[in-house]
Symmetry: C2
Subunit: 419 residues, 2 copies
């Protein structure tokens, strides 16, 4: 329920060691500048503190991961910048990778160090050399989030009080400085929770469909299809009429996708997976896959595409079919090496895929168009589901970290830094 | 020694059940049309027979490979076609693949069947399904070769008597019909042996360098670099000033390449291969590889490229470097699945590479330019070396087949169908 409030603010009486830069309303409506404003919503008139807490991940050269909540200054926005009071930030697989590195969580323990709580976990010795550039460097974590703009530099004043989403490292912080042009302004009334995952998954799903169109394919294969991004892709492709072969790892996940309206779902844990996959590939004509898993699955998908293409050859060809078959590997659910058998023929390709690099390639205008679609369909196509809401301090809890590291479907965590 | 002969031919008196279409000279000089001609070289005035012998490879549905020398008609060239008396045809790895399939040569045996010699070898049962399109189909083998044009259809008369090279399945035949436009006319005096391998290896080596230039790389990695195509690539790149990292499988091969003038040679069988490879990649700036091997090596090359690129990053990046790293897999010396470890980062790609499909992509004019260069440097850059000269009948010898199947460096075989 929205309540229309008429509040006359003569003087802000809050005590703080920092000046009150602006008072502001949640739910996306601008309040600034004080002292007088009519607005919808709840007045949240906390002052902006001078210090904040930021979650940092450090790998020490002696082979230890340390997660800590560090006391950091709240910066003043310069021209073109805004200060975001971060209200919600998801833990994506990419965040987990940066947060935990290859640490052994079974041996993780929480400790008090100089009055601060930290999490310590050993890093296997053989993994240390590959992390040399991380040694001793405290990394800010949390690649996206949403919150309210509570201060703005010159030229960015129009964002004051707006609920915005942003993508930039270090969202596991109570306050995050952002470039104004990187902020995605959410419609008035949007809950920050609903906007927290407006970048990584929506732009990944849109990027897959956009890649498919730009590279001359007409259907998609998606692995780990029961994930948040997988269900998002299913809604997007259903809406856009793009045939998708969804590959999942259990009968339950398969049923959930079918219940959501998916036509072609293949369960890699089931007998006859290979035949079912070939049948779905034949029915959809899919020759492009986005693979979040890796390991043997990557090659299984390519080999199945080639088997389908090969059946249509008029005569034997030593090189196999000339139908181009491509798989983009964008996730690491299986950390083992990708395996590509020679039964894929010769007209195959595989590549790493990274959404931000894809956006760089398509350019500013095309990216903006994708952003607009995300905002338009944030509550429908691009909604995210979370299994748990946690505080910054919860991210130092070994039990929570272990659960997150299992990367189970449906267990996605949303961090609320103001808790 | 060339001898100038003045021969007046009034009448050809050879008995044959076919008409003598033309008399002709070897070594590339045109003799036709009879009756009068001054020419260099040896007059080889055999008639064109009506029947020829062709080597064929058949996989029978009951799980047996049969190689046979079949009696086949010698066709009459139609308009735009020529008849080639095949003088020399190499056994390339791709020919071996078609010739032998996955047959078990340890159990191969030569037999007489209805007065003909055939070679029989069992095909492992689990490999049969993938060969369904070959079942019972006699395949003509030998993808390239050289010989003399002994008959020509309308519009192709200018090729009569010329020594030409050609690429088309079925060169393991005494006579092969060719489209005139597919013939590469060799300079007068070229021995057919020197022109026999004018397509596969030269165009593969040129295709690698051309691909490098078109895709924005400035150096190459080549595996199985002591092969015929590897030594050709070394000469080509030395001539063109292209830095190459040569990966070989033994100290002897490494020394041979160094003796030929190669700067960067890495022996994958040596201790410290990984470090040596990284050093060579760093020195050359190579970010493109052509891999004839596969298996684990494909991923090792990409991972080494990423290690070199990663060392130059100013700060840790969870996604690794953004330097594009690419490997084209064009051979199958290791039949196991390609393995690509996750240490390659995300800016990697891998793909199958097939020379004829590459030529299709670059188009007719660019292909013609490559052909011209092959002809110009046939005796130097693009020369091939053979370990053994054999007859068509020798290809039914189990011992020879076993030796060829080992694909040892220096053991390349040249078939001379007129033997």
């Amino acid at each position: 329920m929205d309540i229309l409030l008429n509040i006359k603010v003569d003087k802000l009486t809050m005590k703080s060691d920092t000046s009150v830069r602006h008072c502001f309303g949640t739910r996306g409506l601008p309040v600034p500048p004080c002292p007088l404003r009519t607005f919808h919503g709840v007045l949240v008139n906390q002052p902006i503190p001078t210090r904040s807490q930021e979650l940092r991940s450090t790998i020490h050269p002696d082979g230890e991961l340390i997660l800590s909540l560090d006391d950091v200054p709240v910066p003043e926005p310069a021209a073109g910048e805004v200060l975001l009071r971060v209200l919600a930030a998801p833990v994506n697989p990419t965040d987990l990778g940066l947060l935990l590195g290859p640490a052994d969580l079974a041996a993780a323990r929480q400790e008090e160090v100089a009055g601060r709580t930290v999490l310590r976990a050993p890093v296997p010795r053989q993994r240390m050399a590959g992390l040399r550039q991380r040694w001793g460097v405290p990394l800010s974590v949390g690649i996206e989030g949403a919150g309210v703009v509570v201060a703005a530099g010159a030229g960015a004043e129009s964002l004051l009080g707006r609920t915005v989403a942003g993508m930039a490292d270090g969202m596991y912080n109570r306050y995050r400085l952002m470039r104004a042009r990187d902020c995605l302004v959410l419609p008035g009334g949007t809950d920050a929770r609903d906007g927290a995952s407006a970048f990584v998954n929506p732009l990944t799903a849109l990027g897959m469909v956009e890649t498919m169109r730009r590279e001359g394919h007409s259907a998609l294969v998606h692995t780990a299809a029961a994930s948040n991004v997988g269900r998002m892709l299913q809604r997007l492709c259903q809406r856009d009429g793009v045939p998708v072969v969804h590959i999942v790892r259990s009968a339950t996940q398969a049923q959930a996708l079918r219940d959501a309206g998916a036509d072609h779902v293949c369960d890699s844990s089931a007998d006859g997976f290979r035949e079912a996959l070939q049948e779905a590939l034949d029915a959809t004509g899919a020759t492009l896959a986005f693979d979040a898993v890796g390991g043997a699955l990557t090659g299984q998908v390519l080999a199945a595409m080639e088997a389908v293409a090969g059946r249509k050859l008029a005569a034997y060809d030593r090189y196999g079919s000339s139908t181009p078959k491509h798989v983009y590997v964008y996730g690491t659910l299986d950390v083992r090496p990708l395996e590509i058998p020679r039964s894929v023929g010769l007209a195959w390709s595989a590549a790493g895929w990274l959404m931000p690099r894809f956006l760089d390639r398509i350019g500013e205008a095309a990216t903006q168009a994708l952003h607009r679609r995300v905002v338009d369909e944030l509550g429908t196509t691009f909604r995210s589901d979370y299994g748990q809401l946690v505080s910054l301090a919860d991210l130092l809890n070994p039990e929570l970290l272990k659960r997150m590291a299992e990367r189970k479907t449906g267990a996605k965590v949303l961090v609320e830094p103001q808790r």
